[in-house]
């Protein structure tokens, strides 16, 4: 997984509340048993006037020419709610999004982001509005900078601190893969399991 320390990019505000994973990637865009080939279906209901014919909706923020190459999404409360589908995060990552800024995230979506090297940065709504306002002035020139080492974002005014759990911050900084990390605890898992199954044999099902 690609580590993330410092990222500078064009921002795109999508500030409405409760942006759900069905909106991020509609179920009908999940056509293959694969983590790839999803960017085209990202926000399909909103991004296209006709999703089947891929007719772009010029009003949708990611279709605005001045947002070209956007890699930082500025979102509203409860971002990523709904289905646990990791396809939503795979679609965002493939499209080029590295950072999502929102007042709060759905818990499963937030973990899916971290598992794929995307930063879910928590910032109060007023801070997001300030970042969006500055970006709006000239999106290509007024790029935002996200510094995960210091947990702050820079954009025009004074630096905006963001929140992320320390465990998730460290994993993103190092680009750690969870399974490899957990393998290091293999002996502890074995010991825990032995004790659990010995004390509560009903937990174990026959092979």
């Amino acid at each position: 997984m690609k580590p993330l320390e410092l990222h500078t990019g064009v921002a795109a505000p999508l500030l409405r509340a409760n942006v759900d994973t069905d909106a991020i990637i509609p179920s009908r865009e999940m056509r293959r048993v694969s983590r790839s080939g999803l960017a085209d279906g990202l926000f399909a209901h909103w991004r296209y006037l006709d999703a089947e014919r891929r007719l772009p909706n010029p009003d949708f923020i990611l279709n605005h020419p001045e947002r070209a190459g956007a890699s930082i999404l500025l979102g509203g409360p409860n971002f990523g709610c709904g289905s646990s589908r990791e396809f939503a995060v795979w679609a965002l990552a493939e499209f080029g999004v590295r950072v999502i800024v929102a007042p709060d995230f759905n818990p499963i979506f937030q973990k899916n982001c971290v598992a794929n090297g995307l930063l879910p940065a928590q910032v109060p709504q007023s801070g997001i509005q300030a970042l969006a306002a500055w970006s709006d002035e000239d999106p290509q020139r007024n790029r935002l900078t996200v510094d995960l080492r210091a947990s702050v974002m820079e954009g025009g005014g004074s630096p905006v601190p963001f929140a992320i759990s320390e465990g998730q911050r460290v994993r993103l900084l190092r680009g750690l893969d969870d399974i490899t990390l957990t393998d290091e605890s293999g002996a502890k898992i074995d010991a825990f399991e032995r004790q659990r199954l010995a004390e509560q044999p009903w937990v174990r099902l026959d092979q």
Binding site: N18, H45, D104, D178, S185, F192
Partner: protein, 460 residues
């Protein structure tokens, strides 16, 4: 070691599964059972195989075909969902190569994965269970520590029998009083979400307790815990009681001699502290229906459409084709859907059938009932409920997630107004441009007869 003086139920479940917590606050949590479906599970099994990893405890992992299976009678692997067959076949192949029990399309015990988990005794009080589906929290109603996860986490759980996560905060929702009249657990959930928002659960582990919960059937508690996913909760849990133990007796994978003493201890201690406390009076809950595109956009069936309070609500009203001030109950419907992991258990079908008996679905309304599992379907048919549904004009289908979401196969058309027992009224959820109104099975049945949104009380 001394145990804490008073612990919440969630603390007890968490502590009994927590292997270690590192300096950053991330814990390694032991996973007793893994359940997966074809939509999100197939990718995980495929990439495990590519990475040459094993499933650490194959006897504790289960596969269910539910998300994109055809629900028309006489079905096969073929499904109207484009590419859907590939997902089913990939899950089947993965299950076979890793040696996992699969509840396949033609299995007598197939159904929506959360119903299968409960019916089979895969989920049990005190067990931890993960499934790559947001509605896994349904199983908290049995006193299980149940988490919905992503595909990467599923791979992790299969390979290591653990989940890596930070312990969520706790929230208690105390339900005083009992539900009255036609109000159901679905209405209680929608009332809670409307009051505190679709993000009101704030990533917490929510415990439902109080008189209103004690008085609920186990199935109603499952409906309530299911909707915790729409509340932004990390999971939900209810202290298991004798009703739960009875429900599980005889489940194929439940222990023949259940550890009842241990299970009875699965409750919050008196005086246990929660990070947040909410109170809801069940007496005041009336039958609900949503008017917008988030479950928080919700009000009483007999209430008018409220004025929009923010941009999202304004956009929602535009999408739904509704005007503030007009009574919701005057809106004509094109379709009625009874199904999903929220409301397709036997008691849901009974409550809809009670409303339907002796009535006909209004002309022009497409009415569909999809039982949640083969077991539910068998029970319903033994009671003659299938006849009630069919005689009234409902389609009677094979189990699966069906039209809870549109995956490119069957769905509702743009502009069509659908009243549905499902859990999500998002834009395009049940078809591009389709307008979904969430409600209980009784309200959906009554609306199907009336041809417009309405409560059972409106039927003469």
């Amino acid at each position: 070691m001394l145990s804490p003086v008073s612990a919440t139920l969630f603390d007890k479940l968490w502590n009994s599964h927590c292997i270690e917590t590192d300096d950053d606050g991330a814990s390694l949590v032991y996973v007793d059972r893994v359940v997966m479906h074809e939509r999100t599970g197939a990718v995980a099994l495929d990439s495990l195989a590519r990475r040459r990893r094993c499933v650490r405890r194959p006897e504790h992992a289960f596969c269910v075909a539910d998300h994109v299976v055809d629900t028309q009678p006489g079905r096969s692997d073929d499904t109207p969902v484009p590419g859907g067959r590939d997902f089913i076949v990939a899950l089947r192949q993965g299950a076979a190569s890793f040696g996992l029990r699969m509840f396949d399309v033609d299995d007598d015990d197939q159904g929506i994965c959360h119903l299968v988990s409960a019916e089979q005794g895969i989920a049990l009080p005190g067990l931890s269970l993960v499934c790559p589906d947001s509605h896994t929290c349904t199983l908290g109603a049995l006193g299980a520590l149940a988490f919905g996860i992503g595909t990467s986490e599923l791979e992790h759980a299969l390979a290591t029998s653990t989940l890596r996560m930070t312990k969520p905060a706790t929230m208690r929702v105390s339900v005083t009083g009992r539900l009255l009249g036609h109000a159901t657990a679905k209405d209680l959930a929608l009332t809670l979400i409307a009051a505190h928002g679709a993000g009101g659960g704030r990533g917490a582990a929510v415990e439902f307790q109080g008189e209103g919960i004690d008085a609920m059937t186990v199935e109603q508690r499952m409906t309530l815990c299911n909707m915790a996913a729409e509340f932004g909760a990390a999971t939900a849990v209810v202290a298991p009681d004798e009703a739960v133990f009875e429900e599980l007796a005889g489940a194929p994978l439940a222990p023949r001699e259940p550890p009842l003493g241990r299970w009875r201890g699965l409750r919050s201690d008196p005086g246990a502290r929660f990070d947040r406390d909410l109170v809801l009076n069940a007496h005041e809950v009336a039958p609900q229906v949503t008017w917008g595109t988030s479950p928080e956009h919700c009000g009483g069936v007999d209430d008018p459409v409220p004025p929009p309070k923010d941009a999202a609500a304004r956009q929602a009203l535009g999408y739904m084709g509704l005007e503030p001030g007009r009574p919701l109950a005057s809106e004509r419907i094109d379709a009625a859907f009874i199904g999903s992991c929220t409301n397709a258990r036997i008691s849901d079908l009974r409550s809809a059938a009670d409303v339907l008996r002796g009535h006909r679905v209004a002309p022009g309304v497409a009415a569909i009932c999809v039982p949640g599992s083969k077991r539910v379907k068998r029970l319903a048919e033994a009671e003659g409920l299938d006849r009630v549904f069919k005689d009234s004009g409902f389609e009677w289908r094979e189990p699966g997630c069906s039209m809870c979401f549109f995956a490119g196969g069957e769905g509702f058309r743009a502009g069509e107004r659908v009243i549905t027992t499902t859990n999500r009224n998002f834009e395009g959820r049940q078809g591009p441009g389709a307008r979904s109104h969430l409600a209980s099975p009784a309200v959906v049945a009554a609306s199907a007869i009336l041809g417009r949104i309405g409560a059972p009380g409106a039927l003469v």
